[in-house]
Amino acid sequence: MKFERYGLGIAKGLSVTIRHLLRRPVTTQYPEQRLNPSRRTRGNELIWDKDKCTGCGTCAKACHIGAIHISTSTDLVNNKYEVKSYEVDTGYCIFCGLCVEACPFEALFMSYDYERAQYRRGDLVQGKEEMKETPERKVSGYFYPGRAAKLPKQSLLVDNDRGKR
Amino acid sequence: MTLALSGKDIAKQIEKKFPGGVVESAAESLLVEAESLLEIAAYLKNTPGLDFDYLTAVSGVDYLDCFEVVYQLTSLEHNHSLVLKTRCYQRDNPTLPSVVGLWRAADFQEREICDLFGISFTGHPNLKRIFLWEGFEGHPLRKDFL
């Protein structure tokens, strides 16, 4: 290597790294500090609104992997479809959000929460009861901006926000 | 703006040079006989007015009654492009002449078509399976594969 510039390039590079000693590191200590995900985040779960759902099955058709299994039965009392079983296999689901967009009755949402890992593969299949919207299982504002207002503001690295302790 | 040359007026030029070479020329593509593919391709590449020196893409399609290989050609100087097609009708051991001699870009793409469609290209330097392993029998992208 020609040292024509007598190591100036190397010196400049060294000056950049030494300057980083004075800057705050960028890492967030995950379990203690948490970053707020985006208000439209597609968390790893689906939330299903039982009363709005009419059992039309558009979401099952929209899913290109067939992760949604829905079976309806005829409810003779007030003469409309009644959803007998509604299961989403989050093991197959890739959280692309096509089903949420396809649902004509605003009954299906992505969840805002991303810590739904399970120990057994069987627990990944979400049954009817575990899909209701509860205070701790919030709905994400994906495709429905109206619901995004209640969620906390996203913490952006551009604003040097490294999450609260 | 890349000017997509229409198959018709190119066909007229080619008809004079290689009688019977052009099978059918639609508005945006030019279907040629498999046998005369190499001469036409060489003609397209070397004539000063056309200068198709850049083979953008080679794609294979299985139309059940025939295999079709589509060459998207572009000329960097004149900034115009052409779609050249050939067909081969036998299904058990389809073969087509390889254009690797003219454009080296076709090397991996022809190996891919041979791997996924089973069309063997004569004159290709090392025609081996590119994605699937040697022992795999059958060609997945054929419509009758499953």
Partner: protein
């Protein structure tokens, strides 16, 4: 400045003295090496805008200890067709010389295990035994990458031994003796000022010998995956890892003793001066490791033979000439002269010298 509160041969009998102080130095060196591993990982991390280990203990201080414990519990795989004996012996041959070097390093006023009068010669001799160990590691693992790595290590050490030894001779000329104590005693002016070119050559040569960036071709992780220590796991890998950091510590200690005036310093107690200077030199090594890309093997060799070696000879010539015309007034007059000579030589040499057969145009 003898050790005041302990007579030199304290327990009377020589062997007892030797045994006690050998254990003390051994423990001290291993602790320093663990500290250095932690120091490098933290300094590297902060310079890369991240935190570095901070989970095991306060500020991650127990991280090296945790690593050492983990490595001891790991299974010790020996490659099937590898040369079993050579594979087993290699870490020992690589690690022991590193410990031997510390017998001669003056930690404090009188605190030196063996005050050999050929101190620096002993260090240069011992430090090249590690290369044999590393080559045995590369050869014994019957793995293509490790053989390549070992070959590279031998090539780089052979070609960098010359500039290192010649620059040390420059220091010896000035100090007048080979013993480390005398070298430190002779340094009223730190030799880095008197021998700037010598310091530069020694530092670059030493970096190549302990294969640290920019010369870490032996275990270049982007090319040879991990060079000679691919097939090592468990305690053997631990030994090789300790050998590498032990060598870095040894080189920092030698550079402090030869060029930065060892433990001599104005206010602070002398052992603290030694630690500060060693830490400083090690920080520069880590700093270089963060920023500078790796050199290719032929550039490494060409740099040694075409750039460092001639400059080392010239440096020796100039130092010898200065010794002859020893100034009456004081050595300080040499400092600007030597620095000017160093700069002129580097500029001149880099003008005519084209690495990469002249193809490389910058």
């Amino acid at each position: 400045m003898a050790m005041t509160w302990l007579p030199p041969d304290w327990p009377g009998n020589f062997w007892a003295h030797w045994a006690i102080f050998a254990v003390i130095i051994l423990v001290f060196v291993l602790l320093m090496v663990l500290m250095f591993i932690w120091f490098e990982r933290r300094a590297l991390a902060i310079m890369q805008a991240r935190l570095g280990p901070n989970r095991a203990g306060p500020f991650g201080l127990f991280q090296p200890a945790a690593d050492a414990l983990k490595i001891m519990l790991k299974e010790d795989i020996v490659p099937a067709k590898g040369d079993k004996l050579v594979h087993w012996l290699a870490p020992v041959v690589a690690f022991v010389p590193v410990l031997l070097i510390f017998a001669v390093v003056p930690f404090r006023g009188g605190a030196i295990l063996a005050d050999l009068n050929i101190g620096i010669l002993y260090i240069l001799a011992i430090s090249s035994v590690t290369t044999v160990g590393i080559f045995m590691a590369g050869w014994g693992s019957n793995n293509k990458y490790s053989t390549l790595g070992a070959m590279r290590q031998v090539a780089s050490v052979v070609s960098y031994e010359m500039p290192v030894v010649l620059s040390v001779v420059g220091v010896i000329l000035l100090a007048g003796s080979l013993s480390m104590q005398q070298i430190v005693a002779a340094q009223d002016i730190p030799f880095i000022l008197l021998q700037p070119l010598g310091f530069l050559l020694f530092f670059i040569g030493a970096l190549a010998e302990i294969n640290r960036t920019p010369f870490d071709l032996t275990e270049a992780d982007s090319e040879l995956v991990a060079g000679f220590n691919i097939e090592y796991s468990g305690m053997k890998f631990g030994l090789l890892f300790l050998a590498e950091y032990g060598e870095a510590l040894a080189i920092s200690a030698i550079v402090t003793t030869l060029f930065l005036g060892g433990w001599r310093g104005p206010i602070l107690p002398d052992w603290l001066w030694f630690l500060v200077k060693v830490g400083l030199v090690f920080f520069v090594i880590v700093w270089i490791r963060t920023t500078i890309p790796r050199v290719r093997i032929d550039q490494l060799m060409a740099l040694a033979w075409k750039f460092l070696f001639p400059l080392a000879l010239l440096n020796l010539l100039i130092t010898a000439a200065e010794i002859l015309v020893w100034p009456a007034v004081s050595l300080w007059v040499f400092v600007p002269v030597n620095i000017a000579i160093a700069i002129v030589l580097i500029v001149l040499w880099s003008k005519f010298f084209k690495l990469g057969w002249g193809k490389v145009e910058v």
